[in-house]
Point group: C2
Chain length 582, copies 2
């Protein structure tokens, strides 16, 4: 090693040791006779000291050539620092320099390598290797590494095997769009990159592996919304001879273990909420339960009082914001604007202030007298000083709108502390969802999810009401993972394909290997996949996953650092028997 | 869980416990009144017992419906077995059955699920999920899992971070052929799948991550030779502020740790051998040093005695096979045929038997008298009873030929025990190698490998003699890993590109991001990549990697289980702006 120690480890106990450090010049302060250099590496920062006249003149000369981000090797004796820096792990010592080598120089970086950089998004992406030098990103990747280590440790202790599944697989039209890979050796044919190892992990259960996991890259060629990446990482898991409860308890154990070991937080037992209740009380299948504001349905007390908007609505629903009765006209107008934004789409917002004197002031005083408003307030369990919000309309739409308002109020009232974690299970998802575009039902989870046995009889009559043995892990309003008990019976799987609009031929062509496998003793099995990028961002207390990925792509799917994708040579295309048509 | 215990854990201490097991029917023996069922899962096999008349008649009836590979749930009481089976971990007990459910049936598998199966290669690939049920494959994947766990543990303890690098990167013409991925969002452009994360790990060093590793899939679109896979797994590593010795000692530590923890074997200090010596003494840059038979050059004693074949040869070289003087004419003919095979290409084989009486008998007695043969024998340190082999010809060719003969003799003399492990480092590889096809020098390792500083001056004059700071980890004649100290200086990297025939524009176009990164304080760094598939096969005592990969591809790059690659839909091609030209 070119160094004897890292820049993060020297302590007061090391005083008088002769040491050699290597790293980057964070800054140089040259105050006439005294020169201080901060040297930085992954492990920390250490202060180097030189004194003109006393120190070696060659070393002083070299020090005066240093610029930001120069790579240096510095030798000297550890001495006690005159003025301690309590913010630094190495703050009680400094190095009295006797040797200094420049290992590499640096031109001036395009932005400052500091916690709060002056670099814009685009510039930071282009010079990602410089952005990654900044401590916040270094901490993010360190957290990611720690989470992956602890995830594997937990699953290994639970006797899971990590088994690698292939990346060059087969394209299937079901689900999102595949990235494909032309095969040179099999002319005119293509592999696909996996959207998930779903069928392979099920085959591993058929093969008797009992407990499988993998931290694995998956790929989806979707039009990228903000904070979606074309390649992303999953903690992918599957278990045999289990029922839903076994999977929930195994991965509840993992969640608790990760919070405990990585963040030192004890998480109590995870609540389980039906999908139907999640929609009813939070208007979302991923409710943020760090705070209350559960929805209360008000049809019985709010309809038939002559307010046409309510009377015509399928659902009148509201929630209470504690202690917000003092909200100003301006604040209420802002919130009304918020719910009327096109992406939310409410027509308006009804509010009721529960005044301290027991009276009520609402935006619909014209239609509702004090008694009427009191009946709302009672139903919604509001207290004096609280503020009620009420929306109305078509059931599914109004719930989603009120969910947005609830989250917005959570933000405004600072009830969504990123250092507080409230995980839960959402269970009993619908098996199918109607797709307006294709005018048919699609699998809500995927076509391998088993319906609840007691609901199978409704597949023909009320397909939209069939519930699945499917569950999501939700933390702080974010869907961190989802899974299901799978179908392990060939006939039921064929029935499912039929209901999803596959002909027998299509089912056999695309999933024949799985249907065949089910002929040879497939065990009951189920699993889950967790989004590792998002889990890491959540642990890091941030919404965006981008800074938890070493080399992310931008919203056009480009890596602007390496300038990819790019045009390839004609002979490469020829070898692949391909022609580009643009 | 559907079970209370696995099929591998019940012991004599569990007698009288009521248990429930799940698994597959390995076999059923129905001897009139008594029925035994072997139930199997990942963890082991347990024997179930039924007695007609005594056991529940419904259970007996169900048992008589069972076939091989049926999935069952079996309940009963643990009892002591009358005749113990010492080959089975559960061999002292059996289960007196009181309940039996068929969880799934199975049609007859196309081959037997036993250690020695009757299934051919093709059939086993097609029904891989059944092949994977066999114990040898299950043990292979278990070994692979264990090796990955321990690899990560070692590197984590050494403060390496596992950092995921992207899979959708940029195609470069250098090196092997890339698999490419058309981009829908960037019309007419392609990503490439990584052949290795080489440039990204170097950028992580520039970014200050100090110690990086990743167990990562890599991709090469090569014409597949036997036992090559288009996708393979590497243990990819990089360290900053190091010299070659630091990397060798770090990964020597890893090799020792893996052998110790996974196989319980203590490996002594790894020998280091110059590339030049490896070629000289073993005719291979990956010598199998489990056995001797080092080459001895015989030009001085074998030339100028009138044997034209030797006189015209650049090199006359041989080795001694201990105690093989008794080899028959037929055996020697076979070996002569062996070296004359087209893929080896020797013109003939000269042998000398060192008889017990001190005389010599050779295939070239016509040209060499006893004294001459004695001088060979002395030079080669042969004893009575030994057999000398000698080949001659052009230096590089004859060494390779003799290497093949040496390995063949190692096999015949059973000196290549797969349970003996002899790792070594081969160091000081040439920087460049001449390519006859393109009539230019190519990087032997890759273009980022640093030349030895003392050899840089020869880059212009004798490029073939420039040595690199490059090294290979070789175990039992197999190259398990390779690496180098990298160039971290922009000007040296540009010089290297120039010597590899890149124009400045090409270098900038393909590797501009790396050259740019070198402007901003790149630290000295180096690394290594180990072939994880091959390492696992080696630990498993086998030559072929295929059965250490859960879902391998065949020699045409096809997955015959899922029937991939395959044709994709026209609208998929349209979206990608592609046309297939076959």
């Amino acid at each position: 090693m070119l160094r004897s120690h890292t820049c993060g480890e020297l302590k007061f106990e090391d005083v008088n040791k002769e040491v050699t450090l290597t790293g980057w010049v964070q800054k140089v302060r040259d105050k006439g006779g005294l020169i201080w250099i901060d040297i930085r590496d992954r492990y920390g920062i250490t202060q180097l000291l030189l004194e003109d006249g006393r120190s070696d003149s060659e070393v002083v000369k070299t020090a005066r050539q240093l610029g930001r981000e120069y790579v240096i090797k510095a030798s000297g004796k550890v001495i006690e620092r005159v003025s301690e820096n309590p913010n630094l792990a190495t703050g009680r010592i400094e190095i009295d320099l006797t040797g200094l080598d420049i290992l590499n120089s640096s031109i001036t970086p395009p932005f400052t390598i500091e916690d709060d950089t002056d670099g814009g998004e685009e510039l930071r992406m282009k010079y990602r290797y410089l952005d990654l030098r900044r401590q916040p990103l270094r901490k993010n990747l360190e957290l990611r590494n720690r989470l992956s280590i602890e995830t594997r440790k937990y699953l290994d202790d639970q006797k899971f095997f990590e088994i690698e599944t292939p990346y060059l697989i087969k394209s299937t039209p079901e689900g999102a769009r595949d990235f494909v890979v032309p095969s040179r050796m099999n002319e005119g044919q293509f592999y696909a990159l996996p959207q998930s190892p779903q069928t392979f992990k099920q085959l591993l259960m058929v093969a008797g592996y009992d407990r499988y996991y993998q931290l694995v890259k998956c790929f989806r060629d979707e039009d990228l919304r903000a904070d979606r990446q074309p390649e992303f990482t999953q903690i992918d898991c599957e278990m045999a001879f289990v029922e839903q409860d076994d999977i929930l308890s195994t991965f509840e154990g993992m969640v608790k273990y990760l919070f405990k070991t990585v963040k030192g937080i004890d998480i109590p037992e995870l609540p389980r909420m039906d999908y139907a209740d999640a929609m009813k009380f939070y208007g979302s299948d991923k409710p943020d339960i760090r705070f209350g504001m559960k929805f209360v349905e008000l049809n019985d007390v709010a309809q038939n009082k002559g307010f046409k908007v309510f009377d015509d609505a399928e659902l009148v629903v509201g929630f209470v914001a504690d202690g917000c009765a003092e909200y100003s006209r301006k604040q209420l107008d802002k919130l009304t604007e918020f719910v009327k934004k096109p992406q939310i789409g409410a027509k308006g917002l009804v509010y009721v202030k529960c005044n301290e004197d027991g009276s009520f002031k609402s935006s619909v005083d014209k239609f509702f007298d004090q008694d009427a408003l009191k009946s709302w307030s009672d139903k919604i369990s509001a207290k004096s000083g609280d503020l009620l919000f009420v929306l109305s309309g078509e059931k599914d739409k109004v719930r989603k709108q009120l969910n947005e308002l609830r989250l917005e109020m959570g933000n405004r009232m600072e009830l969504r502390d990123p250092n507080v974690f409230a995980p839960l299970w959402v269970v009993d998802f619908p098996l199918l969802e109607w797709d307006e575009d294709s005018k048919r039902y699609h699998a809500m989870h995927h076509p391998f999810t088993s319906p609840k046995p007691e609901d199978i009889s409704m597949l023909d009559t009320k397909p939209g009401e069939v519930r699945a043995n499917a569950y999501d892990l939700v933390i702080n309003g974010v869907e961190i993972g989802g899974g299901s008990i799978r179908i392990h019976d060939r006939d039921l799987q064929k029935l499912m394909f039929k209901h999803l609009g596959f002909t027998d031929e299509e089912a056999q062509d695309q999933f024949g290997f799985l249907l065949n496998a089910f002929e040879y003793g497939a065990p009951p099995h189920g699993g889950i996949a967790l989004g590792f990028d998002r889990l890491t961002a959540l642990f890091g207390g941030q919404d965006s996953i981008r800074d938890f990925i070493a080399f992310p792509k931008n919203n056009s799917g480009r890596d602007i650092m390496i300038d990819s994708p790019s045009i390839i040579a004609d002979d490469q295309l020829d070898e692949l028997n391909l022609k580009v048509t643009v």
